[in-house]
Symmetry: C2
Subunit: 342 residues, 2 copies
Amino acid sequence: MGKATIGDVARAAGVSVKTVSRVINNESGVKDATRQRVAEIVKQLDYRPNLNARSLRTRQSYLLGVLFVDYSGNFYSHSILTGAIEACDQAGYNLLIRPLKINDEGFEPIIKQMHERSKPDGYLICPPLCDDPNVISLMDELDVPYVRIAPLHSEGSPYVRCQEEAASQKAVEHLINLGHQRIAMLSYLKGHGAGAWRLAGYKAALDNYNIPIVSEYIEEYGYDEEPNILDTVIRRLLTKTSVRPTAIFCVNDTLAASVYRIASQMGLKIPYDISIVGFDDDPMVENLWPPLTTIRQPISTMGNYAARMLIKALGNKQQALELPALDCELVLRSSTGPYLPD
Amino acid sequence: MGKATIGDVARAAGVSVKTVSRVINNESGVKDATRQRVAEIVKQLDYRPNLNARSLRTRQSYLLGVLFVDYSGNFYSHSILTGAIEACDQAGYNLLIRPLKINDEGFEPIIKQMHERSKPDGYLICPPLCDDPNVISLMDELDVPYVRIAPLHSEGSPYVRCQEEAASQKAVEHLINLGHQRIAMLSYLKGHGAGAWRLAGYKAALDNYNIPIVSEYIEEYGYDEEPNILDTVIRRLLTKTSVRPTAIFCVNDTLAASVYRIASQMGLKIPYDISIVGFDDDPMVENLWPPLTTIRQPISTMGNYAARMLIKALGNKQQALELPALDCELVLRSSTGPYLPD
DNA sequence: CTGAAAGCGCTTACAG
DNA sequence: CTGAAAGCGCTTACAG
């Protein structure tokens, strides 16, 4: 079992190995009757092509590399992997993961080493690496195809992206419809697609309802900032008397959790004193009380689609690629409530 | 670059391909002078052996499979991967990950399919799969070596494990030293190594200090239980007047987070009314206030060590394997405080 | 529509 | 200590 070679199949079917090769690779130019007979024998002998022999000859590795930053407990990259693996399974590819630790020499040497050893046929690049100019120029230098996931910049190689802006707008409009007017936006994804789109959605919602955009309600920081600056910022925001925002849209759930923590320290009740919306539906929100209203992205679908795009670009005769709808979903829970005048 | 073959090296060095092969595989029986000359040329031409050709001939895939259950945001498996990848990199192996979704047909068909396609030389099996009799008997049927990570049962194949019991004991003794006597243990890892060892450590600490083990302070459930039974249990525990425990050792941080939530709902202050210890130092504890005292396992070290054990068992001439100390660390933060009489 | 031959880049088995 | 030959299981390039 699993030990038959292409020669065994050829012999059993009474054809040449080349004909068997044509059948298993779905090449044209085989009589239907022959094709069926061979297919029958393949099944009967439980024949599976030896991928190493195939790779040796075709000079393809049938390997896809996935590049992502190794945050601990990163459910985003993890979900990308899950979706990508499914696509790889279907197409006969394997996935080579490469969690990159932040270090002084940069990511390039590690990627290079991986590439020279295993020669993946293409790469999937997760955020924020997909916007790292060093990583991108290395890819181009290596002359290997790649698909970016949720990049800030559209120009360049193919990418996959979902409707984060529309979803953010919807979330903020949900707050507006609850009667809120003083709505703050808390962000620390400056320079990332996520930060930009979510902020744009926030502004679009306010614009749409003719609510003025107040710059002191918008807090935006980069990853490089001190983590505890966030606490200060949140505290400052929640302390503003009379003009205190009555709702906060957080760029992600981690930030929303910080707001929960500080609100609790300050004795503010969610959603009575303040409504909160997050982004991601990170599994850790299960620990938050009251349950967090947030936005869920189709992350594994993006991973799946990105892998399929890549495989298609590699020219392997796959079936047609129908685009899935990459919509985000507003998950209404209990951290948002009607505006209550003081 | 990266395009030289073993033949190119042989020609440049004025030896046969077989001699080059001997050098790159560290085989004995080559004159030192020859070995050095060949090594020089290898470096000069930036020669890297073609892994597919090697695999085709040796019938090894140089692939290690990692089996784990696809919880979303599972930082444990993720850490195992990180450590295992490092070991694989050093030994020239690649890692094939297989996150398994819980489904009706069981995991076997998926593992089987993966195995027949990619033929990993061995497997790393994460908990709780390493204690799943179906998975284990499939491995034996497939006749492929595997290393288990933190299995409940020692008998059988090789495994890696760290000192969870000792760490748990230390954590509970920390509570005892703070003056606590009524210490509860909250577990829902029944049937898993983790649940067993952590409970054993709890009991050992009490025994050690001659504190009677009170069964109504020990709550233990399986994964299959309703998740909200936990809320009921925690609430019941915290409601016991006069005999209410003053400290709770939680089998993991997720459970500790639930205790935080319910304590907050009940108006109990941590650590004044109740001290809490978790287990895992899950990144999500950053969202908990006050900061959680917990136990950190050397997870990625376990992954690294497991991979090295496996590679060694595969008989590839690797350097000797020195056992790292697999100790856990008690991380003292602010959720534990001195016993305060009512 | 089908097949015989060559060859991908290594290692195995053997000879010297 | 070193090497010539065969072969792993496929696909490519070509012929018919």
